[in-house]
């Protein structure tokens, strides 16, 4: 059985540079944009929208196709245009069948599928045929490409290291 890999995001390593997004749009569309990137970094810029006495957070998180095992998008597609790539396990759009009805966008619970008006097509992460450019270009390693069954490890490892430090007394902070 193919060891299907997925994108794994570690928010604590993310500097919010959006290089994954500029890379994605440039690689797939031949032009750089943030709005047409298939991967999206959510930014909560608490520092920019708070008064001095307000404690706001600065948080980055990710939205992109999860390449679900039982994808809702596939179930609702009227033209059976949504397929799984046998080599990479990625859920992809067969352009020959797709009529851009956008039902997949309705079905996706994450908002990971978008519609490119200029190119008149729905677009979504296709894992770049097994060599995701966002991972390659991430300057901090916040994005990794790991087998689904190992996707939990970076978080677990980070927490384990932190707990070790706390027990050893080298840090006081309990923040995780």
């Amino acid at each position: 059985m193919v060891d299907e890999k997925v994108l794994v995001f570690e928010p604590h390593d993310c500097t919010g540079c959006m290089r994954c997004m500029t890379t994605c749009s440039t690689y797939h569309n031949g032009a750089t944009s943030l709005s047409k990137s298939r991967i999206h970094i959510i930014r909560h810029e608490g520092h920019a929208v708070s008064k001095m006495d307000e404690r706001e957070e600065l948080i980055f998180d990710i939205i992109t196709c999860q390449h679900c095992d039982e994808p809702f998008c596939q179930k609702v597609c009227p033209t059976l245009a949504i397929e799984r790539n046998g080599d990479t396990g990625a859920i992809i759009v067969n352009r020959d069948k797709c009529v851009a009805c956008r039902m997949c966008m309705v079905a996706c619970p994450f908002g990971a599928i978008l519609y490119d008006q200029d190119r008149r097509q729905v677009t979504r992460c296709d894992l770049c045929d097994g060599d995701p450019q966002c991972v390659k270009f991430c300057p901090t390693g916040a994005l990794q490409f790991l087998p689904k069954r190992l996707a939990h490890l970076p978080k677990r490892d980070r927490l384990a290291r932190k707990m070790t430090q706390i027990r050893a007394g080298s840090i006081l902070q309990t923040r995780i």
Binding site: H12, D13, C14, T15, G16, C17, M18, R19, T22, T23, S25, T26, Y27, N29, G30, A31, T32, S33, L34, S35, K36, I42, R43, H44, E45, G46, H47, A48, V49, S50, K51, M52, D53, E54, R55, E56, E57, L58, I59, D118, Q133, K136, F137, P139, T140, Q173, R175
Partner: protein, 666 residues
Amino acid sequence: MAIPDGYAGKALVINLDNREARFLPIDRFWADYGIDPRLWIGGDGFITKILWEDFQTAIDPLGPENEIIIATGPWTATAAPQAGRAMLGCISPETGGFSSGSFGWFFPSTLKYAGFDILIIRGKCEKPVYVFIDDHEVLFKDAAHLWGKETGETVKLIREELEERYEGEVRVLSTSVAGENLVKYAPPCADGTSCPGRTGAGAVMGSKNLKAIAVRGTGEVSLYDPRGLLDSSDRAVRTFLEREPLIKLWKEQGASTSLGTASNWPLSGANLAKNRDEADFPHFMNVGCLNCHSPCYHWLQIRGGKYAGVRQLGGHMTFLTVCLRNLGIQDFGEWIYFERLIQELGLAPAAFSIAYSWAVDCFERGLLTKDETDGLTLKLGDAELIFEVARKVAYREGNLGNLLADGVAEASRKIGKGSENIAPHVKGKAYLQRDPRIQALMWALGFLTSPRGGDWLRLHNVWELAFLPEKRDTYRKLTGKSCAQIYEDALGLLDMPDDLKKKIFGDPLKVDVEWIKGTRGKATFSVWTENFVGVFNSLVTCMFGAATQFLMVGFGPTTYCEILAKITGWDMTYNELMDVGERVFNLQRLFNYRIKGWDYRNDTWADQRVNEPAQMGIYRGKKVPWNDALQEYYSVRSWSKEGLPTKAKLIDLKLGDIAEKVDLPE
């Protein structure tokens, strides 16, 4: 003219007098202003040419005729490294001369995604207003309810009001209370994060009743060779991260901490080395602008004391320097609080701190009395007092607030009694730290030669003083390399033709105490640096790409040429690119000469103490040979002894048409 790839394609010219917005195809705009994009590229290049065409004589910088120009470049908003920057230009309220500054975060890229390479704002609204650029539509919004609001609240209210569809969709460049009250050095701030800090454009916005510019951009930027751009950028970033001598330290400690603690700068901030113990870091990574691989913003939270819990995204070197050097603030928490306060009020750290420390000097000498300080006893090191004065200045409260809000130059003219001779400014603009003699001859020479007036960012070269080997060599424990080794590596990495390197560092190339304390090659290296700064300010990309600590061994002109070629399809050579920087610098010099009459006589210190023997640094016990250094500098620039570009030089730089119009030496 076909519009090259890499440009968004339009200029937007807004007139606040009649609330009119005009959209111009960028090629038509270029034709109107005589701009060949290969000669000016973008950013500072465009701003310089636009100001040159629009202003033949001096104006009142806070009158409606001043204009705010925001110019991105072909680099901006592409997949190139550090693509989040743009330049903002205007006539400086402090000096009356040329002013521009780089800023980032996500306003510049969003403006470009909205379709604009250039935004010009002219005129004045009779009531407070903010402008919303919604992709291709421009709306003028009432800002009465925002007037008097500080930076963070302004951004929040505007984003809510415009109903952004996801967080961070709408980007806001706003002015704060200092700008509204026409504090002459007040900068605007982009999303409460990044400011074109030395422009004084916040006051210009205030004078126009313009509270903010908001932008939403959903478009894309075309590229000549997209996959090539990705490859070149990837290679450049990987090389940078592998070889930049201090990147590891930078990423761990942030922009300021590495400078203040690790480097051998004559800063007295050893206690700041413990900053990790003295502040919380809710987010452990540094944070940066678009496509940044060496981000400089630190997410900080004050751990203890009166201000415990206050947060700030920053930790920048300017604030550390001014706190330690000018204000005597040693406590890390107070330093973070100062940074946040200055940003919320919309003040400028260098200009404010120099004005304050000058007032302390005056107070101690009896040149300022308690009547003039509203009863305050001015002194250094008292953070509470300094915060109080900062608020007074931002709101122009009382005698002291009003006095310092005009900047140190004007304030000293008002007070007189010899206070002019201890006012740290050049051409009306305060510089970073009070004693430039410590950092002669390259860094501080830039205070004299910068077209912005006393300013350190156009000659940001620390080769002669970053690693003074006879001082403590702290680098070995931080980077595993000694000063001498870092210098040797840097000599190899510096992207400069061999003959030029030999001219600066001798043959064989060597940087030692003799070089550091001598004058050989300094003028040449200064000129090269200023031209280089002109290049990345025109592209526009971040100075921290050139190197985290300004040894100029990050991206060099060769890397910039390669990546620019992938964006635009231009096959520019190293020399052609550096010529752009030189052209921009020369025209800025000429612009100031035309509207202000500035020449060699203005390349001088108002503060007479600077002409005395130095107490520390390279010139300890000796006078710094400023005039000799300047004459050598003029000569390297092929300028006349009066410090003016010659006609021959301008023709060399393809500025022949301009040479005809100005009375200049042959």
